[in-house]
């Protein structure tokens, strides 16, 4: 794989570069995260035990997990579908769609939240009153939180899968078809195995992002204790109420899960497999 070949520089330049990169990552990522962990365990396991004994916090953690899992499932299914659409088909508006997919990454989550309220809001939104009449409350309820989370993490699977699809090309799929496979069989037996690592990585990134979403969720959830308060909102709440130990402990749990996902994938991903 040509692109994997590295420039081999010798001498002090190499060490200086390494030192700068390491220091940069340490100061920006590792050190702050470490401090969160340190604060969490400042009194041994008291902080962790404290939040895990609080039924409202446990509910918030459960809600966060449910929301993240549902959002990831939605984003994976649609993400893979949209990726195939973008890479394999030529249609008018394709470039526009492609550009639109980056909007969730570039727009501030709080704007996303407000926009969703405008559309689905129970009193004045476009769809909101109609949906509410039909018995489905979106805003200030779990569906709204899922919607907001899904929106924010939307491009992550697509951005991982599209390059892989482009790289594998269409010949294997055509070969499968000429051997008698239907579109569904071709997808399951040929396309999916070929893009599996892209999908896995996209899922992990989406999961990490969904667990940690704050801004959009804050706007649409209503932040009702024990009902629509998610883990990130708990962190804010506790922090503002000077329960720093609880805030750090919750934050630590969130970070732990996200980091664990990424570490696990980096370890199990086979080395020779290109992204």
């Amino acid at each position: 794989m040509a692109e994997r070949q590295r420039l081999r520089t010798r001498g002090p330049g190499r060490f200086v570069t390494r030192a700068i990169v390491t220091a940069y990552l340490f100061l920006l990522v590792a050190w702050p995260l470490w401090l969160v962990a340190q604060n969490t365990f400042a009194d041994g396991f008291d902080n962790l035990r404290g939040i895990l004994d609080d039924p409202d916090v446990v509910h918030a953690l459960q809600l966060t997990v449910v929301v993240a899992v549902v959002a990831v499932v939605i984003n994976t299914v649609f993400g893979v579908g949209i990726s195939i659409l973008i890479v394999r088909y030529r249609f008018p508006g394709r470039r526009l769609l492609n550009a639109l997919l980056d909007v969730p990454l570039s727009v501030s989550p709080i704007v996303v939240g407000l926009a969703l309220v405008l559309v689905y809001g129970g009193r004045s939104g476009w769809f909101g009153p109609g949906l509410e009449d039909a018995g489905l409350q979106v805003i200030f309820a779990t569906p709204g939180i899922i919607l907001a989370t899904t929106f924010v993490a939307l491009p992550l699977v697509i951005r991982e899968v599209v390059p892989v699809l482009e790289e594998i090309g269409t010949e294997q799929e055509q070969a499968a078809q000429s051997l008698g496979a239907t579109a569904a069989q071709t997808f399951r037996r040929i396309t999916l195995p070929a893009i599996r690592w892209g999908v896995t990585y996209g899922v992990v990134l989406s999961l990490a992002r969904s667990l940690g979403e704050f801004g959009a969720v804050k706007v649409v959830s209503g932040n009702v204790l024990g009902e629509t308060r998610t883990a990130t909102l708990v962190v804010e709440e506790k922090y503002l109420n000077f329960d720093q130990g609880g805030a750090y402990a919750t934050a630590f749990l969130l970070a732990l899960v996200a980091v664990a996902c990424i570490v696990v994938v980096s370890i199990i991903r086979p080395k020779e497999e290109p992204r």
């Binding site: 070969a175 078809q177 051997l179 008698g180 069989q185």
Partner: protein
């Protein structure tokens, strides 16, 4: 007739890749689609396979109208130039793919795959992944994979194009023998006229989206329909307004022949067993090739005056368009 193509036209945007192409491909034979790069050979093959659809015209396969049939229902095996191996499946699973899709019993699949592995000499590589095979082995695997489902026709797009000259030659001889064993109607694309002449029963010459000529290798070589076919199938030289093969040009000294053209030997080049003599007739340079023995018997050298003529009965084709081209040409490869 096994494959009937009538009036097929294919456009990509404004570009006409195939224009009103009609070809009948006989059953049980090995047919070559021969032509220069960009001529539309792959496009035609892909239309037969259903991987591409024609804008106009019809495709019939074994008496069935296949014009609008999807690829998976056509019963054709397709071998891609770059193999299109299923990278995540072992050689065995690659070959078994079509049978697994058809939900054949496990025992039957294993038996059939073993047979095919033996046919393409890949028995000891059955459990390897395609990435662990050489190019020639991958190509044989792709061929076995296509044959596994017992296709009515087998289509190969430049099957040996990506291989080095030696392997290429071995594989095409092997393909010919395989075809004599299996007897499935086979169409293969090539831009190498030697490959087509050596292997095929029938050759379809395609250039710029049109069929130039259809015939057996002998017909094409001996009775080329036009100067394109003449030039494409082998070396040519020009004498007067006629294109002729350099080995059909004879040189004589002294005797004056009413049909012959007088000239002077300009250059003599010996390449192995062959001697190439360039004769200048004033406005043209004519190339004559002969064996070393013939050359020694003739006893000429640079500067000698000779008479140049075409062997009676040899294939000649009038030059179309401008006749002021150089007399020295070798076919494009």
């Amino acid at each position: 007739m096994s494959i009937e193509i009538t009036g097929v036209t294919k456009r990509f945007g404004d570009f006409v890749a195939l224009e009103d192409v009609s070809v009948s491909i006989p059953s049980g034979q090995l047919t070559a689609l021969l032509g220069p790069s960009g001529g539309g050979k792959s496009t035609l093959l892909r239309i037969i396979a259903g991987l591409e659809y024609a804008d106009a015209g019809t495709v019939g396969i074994e008496g069935l109208d296949a014009t609008h049939l999807p690829a998976r229902k056509r019963g054709v095996g397709f071998v891609f130039q770059h193999y299109a191996a299923f990278k995540h499946l072992s050689v065995r699973r690659n070959i078994a793919f079509g049978l697994e899709i058809r939900k054949r019993p496990k025992d039957e699949i294993r038996h059939r795959v073993d047979e095919l592995l033996a046919l393409v000499h890949l028995e000891q590589f059955a459990e390897r992944l395609p990435a662990q095979l050489s190019g020639g082995q991958r190509q044989r695997m792709a061929l076995a994979r296509a044959l596994a489902v017992e296709p009515k026709v087998l289509l190969l797009d430049e099957p040996f194009g990506a291989l080095d000259a030696k392997v290429r030659k071995e594989l095409r001889e092997w393909l010919r023998r395989l075809h004599d064993e299996v007897h499935v109607t086979t169409v293969f694309v090539t831009h190498d006229q030697e490959e087509a002449l050596e292997v095929a029963d029938e050759i379809v010459v395609i250039n710029e989206g049109r069929v130039e000529q259809i015939g057996s290798p002998d017909q094409l070589y001996d009775e080329p329909a036009n100067d394109f076919v003449m030039r494409f199938l082998g070396p040519v030289t020009q004498l007067g307004d006629l294109l002729v093969r350099p080995h059909d040009v004879t040189l004589t000294t002294g005797a004056d022949d009413p049909d012959a053209v007088a000239g002077r030997v300009a250059r003599v080049v010996r390449v192995g067993f062959e001697v190439r003599v360039e004769v200048s007739t004033g406005e043209q340079v004519v190339l004559a090739t002969m064996t070393r023995t013939e050359f020694l018997r003739l006893g000429v050298d640079a500067g000698t005056t000779v008479s140049v003529r075409v062997v009676p009965g040899a294939p000649v084709v009038p030059v179309s368009g401008s006749s002021v081209r150089s007399g020295l040409e070798v076919p494009a490869r």
